[in-house]
Structures are given as structure tokens and as C-alpha cells.
Amino acid sequence: MNQRIEWSPVKSPSPFKQDGTHRIPNRVYSDVELHARELEAFFYKAHWCYVALECEIPNQGDYKATMIGERPVIVVRDRDGSVNVLENRCAHKGAKFCQKEFGNAKVFVCPYHQWGYRLNGDLAGVPMKNGVAGQGGMGADFKMEDHGLNRLKVRVHNGIVFASFDDDIEPFESFVSAELMPFFNRTFDGRALTLLGYNRQRIRGNWKLMQENIKDPYHPGLLHVFFVTFGLWRADQKSELRIDPRGRHAQMISTRNSGGENKEVTAGVTSFKESMILEDPRLMDVVQEPWWGGPTAVMQTIFPSVIVQQQVNSLSTRQIIPRGPNEFDFVWTHFGFADDTPEMTERRLKQANLFGPAGLVSLDDGEVIEYCQQAATAYPDGECVVELGGKDGGVASPHMVTETLIRGMYRYYRETLGL
């Protein structure tokens, strides 16, 4: 048998079996071709992707290497104080020339043939450009200005930095949407931020599962026993869900209650353990901050690249870096404000015990995302049922007993990818 396998540019048919997004086909979590289309449509076009907090690169020449989707980029503070985002890819042989995560540079020099670049990406030097002893060198048509590092569109918004490969991208505010800007600006209102540090984990699951996790107010009161018992997140607390008109971003906004047992919420919830009290209350020594203006937790998903967390006194950005359809890196950057007292900083650091790869709450999420991936990959023709709260395509909600935000994300997903 002589069977030729041919590459086909024809896109495979939609994995969605019906209209709407109350059913999600497992294939979206493991299909290699869909993954390539997601990278192109979501990470490389038409979206502002998170790259840094300004406080990570406070001084001229400070840089940070990071990723947008699966592409390496560098975020650097230029001499005039502005922030540039450059492809971490030498214009000569394509080497990922910057191998350090953080540093300070006057120029970037690729070690391979020492092409040198200014902090704005302009090519500044090419060894042997004019030849050696009259021999060789670049041709007369070689123009330095044609061979700089590709420079991305950048938006620095009150201390948080987003970038895009897409020159035609819409303004940042309309990207985030008028519905969501108020709570986005509640955290990032222009106050100086201070960097507390990083946590990084590699989760063997599809990157969208993490977006879904933070668009899912159904699970916290069930999966996160730690949350439940100490009243940090319960289905009976005052809450609100916001979503942008296209369905891609969302905010889960809630106000903590005093804990204890509420029969309707805890009846039948096997994970509820009423008697648990903290041995050392400093672990969750919550102090109301004036800027909260009420809500004690606001969890924001800015599609596709980042989650912005305020859980009581703990603040972080959580960057999503996909690595093929089956795993992603999850990078937590914890921060505070420049006017925090030492006591407040200590409080933020202690509450960080709930988050990150070791988090008393977040650890559960990484685990169940891997459980989802294990079965979704094995059963690609199966589908998820996302019908809590109805079959709508993603709407704002005055309560949390709904999966509407996930339906909204997949409405946007289907529309954007033409599925």
C-alpha cells in the first residue's frame, strides 16, 4: 500500500455540534490546528496582550524577557523613559539573543554575529558591514534601517504594560470595554506600584481552561474548601458579574461575608467543613483598603493573556503563556502600592499563601485543570455542559450561580475563528 499523506490548507470543520456555546467540544482543548489558529487570532492579532508591570523595569535600560503567546519578546525602558516591546529575535539569523529574564542594557547585542540594536530596536551596528580589507561585506543596497528588531505597539496604562503585534489594533480602552474599565482602573488608577515577586508554574492543560476557571463562579464555593470555610467566596455573598459586549473579557466582583453555615449554600456540599478555624489568624488578617469602595474581591480575565487578581489584600497579575494545546506556563506577579505601610506589605505576603503553585486555594485550580485536560484529550468527541444559569451567550449577572461568562468567551471564540 502506497499512501501519500498530503498537507491540506483546508480548515477542518467546526467541532461545535450545535448553535450556542452551552456545550463545548473537547476538541478545542487538544486540537493542534485549532491551537495554531488561536495563537494567530488571539495572541498575535487584534488583542492587547499583557507583558509587564512598569515597576519591573523602573530605570533606563531595564529590561524583562517575556512571551506573547509562544513568541519571545523583550520589554525595555528606553532612555527617554518610554517603554518599548521588541521581538526577541535577531534580524540577522533569528537567534533569541536575549537569554536573561531580567537585566539592564545600553544596547542589545546578539552574541552570534554581534549585530547591535538600540533600546528602540533600531539596528546600530553590523560587524564587517563594509568588508575587510576591501573584501566582502554587505551589498550597497543593505540599509541599516531595514533590519531593526520588530517593535510592537505598546500601551502603558497606569503602571501596567500591554503590547500587540497588530499595528491596526483598536485603542486599549475600547479593547477592555467601557463596561470593564471602571473596575480595571480601580486597581490601576495611576498609583505607583511596588513589585513583591514572582511565582511560576507549568500546568499541563490547555490555556483556555485557565481563562474559564476565572470566568467560573460556580466552582470556588465547591472546590476551594479553604475559601468556603473562611467566608472568602460563597454563592450567597453579594456579587456581580460583568462582561464586555463581545464576550471575551469579564469581571467577577464580590463582597465577603462573615462565614459560618448557610443551609442553602452548604447543604449537600460535601466539601464544607464548618468547624475549621485558623490557628494563626494572621494568615488571613484582612484589612479593608479605602480604594476597594466596597467589593473585597475582583477577579478580571483580560482575554487572552492575563488575569488580574484582587482577593482581599492580595494583588497579582497572572500571565498565561501557552505551550502547544496541552500545556501553559502561568506566571504570577505579586504587587502592592508604593504607599503601603510595612504592615500592609507583610499582610500581602502572608495572604499570598493562598495563591500561586503552592496556594491554599489556587493549587486546587492547577490540579483540576490537569484532570480536565487528561480526559478531554482522551475523549476528543466528548463535550462539556456549560448550562448553569441558562444557555445565553454571555451576559452580565447580578449573581454567581451561572456559567454565563464561559459561554460568552466561547461566543467570541466561535465568532472570531469562524467556527
Binding site: 529574564e101 515577586g197 514572582y198 505576603l349 502572608k350 483540576v368
Partner: protein, 151 residues
């Protein structure tokens, strides 16, 4: 004078790895002084002077809360861990001790969970050497998904 005996330091580190690998977290906790601080901190934070730690427990009370969290509230796949703890470089009451921790999740293959160095302050007590502070500084900033038990 707080002169540390090298054999006593070997012994406490052997007990430390043994307690964690048997998931006997009460025995792990008992190796710390009541007001001891335990951290598991990524090296990138430690080297840059950034204070964030993945686990930060200030005293026996918080250690108890972490233990309760692990044993009664957290959801995670069953796993084994194996601490390979190296020889200590002792300087006064301080010690630097390298470690490798391998984990095996359910019936999967073993993988390295963390490699790094314990930065310790140790104290002689009537019960032997105890930990006054331990920062498990791990080299691999990236954790394979979750860090359930202390390093």
C-alpha cells in the same frame, strides 16, 4: 555559644526529609522552634531581594494551618516525594544545605519537583538541633503545576 555539631545537623536534615516523605507533617513541624519562620521561595525572588515566597509560614500556628489545609481542604492527585538532602556548609548558627526533591504522581514517571538550597538558622536545644528559620530557595522558578507539601 551556639556551636553546631555537623552530625547533629546531618541528623535533623535526615529527620526532615524522612518526615516529609512519609507525609508526617506533625513530625516535620516539630523540627522547628515554635516561632520559627519557614519559606519556600523561588531563587529569582531571593536573588533579586524580592520578598514573595510561594509558602511563607511564620511560626507553628501557620504551620498547623498549612498542615490542615493540605490534609483537610486541598484537592490534589496522589503523589510520593523523595528528598535527597546534601551536606551542609555550616557557619556559626547558619547552614547552607543543597537539596533535590523528586516527585512521582500516581502511577506516572518520577520528575524533579525542585532543586535548591536550604538557607537555615539552627539552634541547639535540650531536644537537639532545631530549625529557627529555613528558607527553601529553589532554583527552578517554574514548578511542575503544584507545590503541595513543604520543600
Amino acid at each position: 555559644m551556639n556551636v553546631l555539631d555537623a552530625n547533629a545537623v546531618l541528623h535533623i536534615n535526615a529527620c526532615y526529609g524522612d518526615a516529609l516523605d512519609r507525609f508526617d507533617l506533625a513530625a516535620w513541624q516539630a523540627l522547628f522552634l515554635p516561632d520559627a519562620v519557614y519559606r519556600a521561595q523561588a531563587r529569582e525572588n531571593f536573588d533579586s531581594g524580592l520578598p514573595l515566597a510561594a509558602i511563607y509560614l511564620d511560626g507553628h500556628g501557620m504551620m498547623t494551618d498549612r498542615i490542615t489545609g493540605i490534609e483537610k481542604t486541598l484537592v490534589f492527585a496522589p503523589r510520593f516525594t523523595r528528598h535527597i538532602i546534601g551536606l551542609s556548609k555550616i557557619d556559626g548558627s547558619s547552614a547552607l544545605t543543597p537539596f533535590i526533591i523528586v516527585q512521582t504522581i500516581t502511577t506516572g514517571l518520577p520528575e524533579i519537583l525542585a532543586t535548591g538550597c536550604y538557607h537555615d538558622t539552627l539552634a541547639n536545644t535540650s531536644d537537639g538541633v532545631r530549625i529557627a528559620s529555613r528558607n527553601a530557595v529553589y532554583d527552578n522558578a517554574l514548578i511542575p503545576n503544584s507545590l503541595v507539601y513543604p520543600l
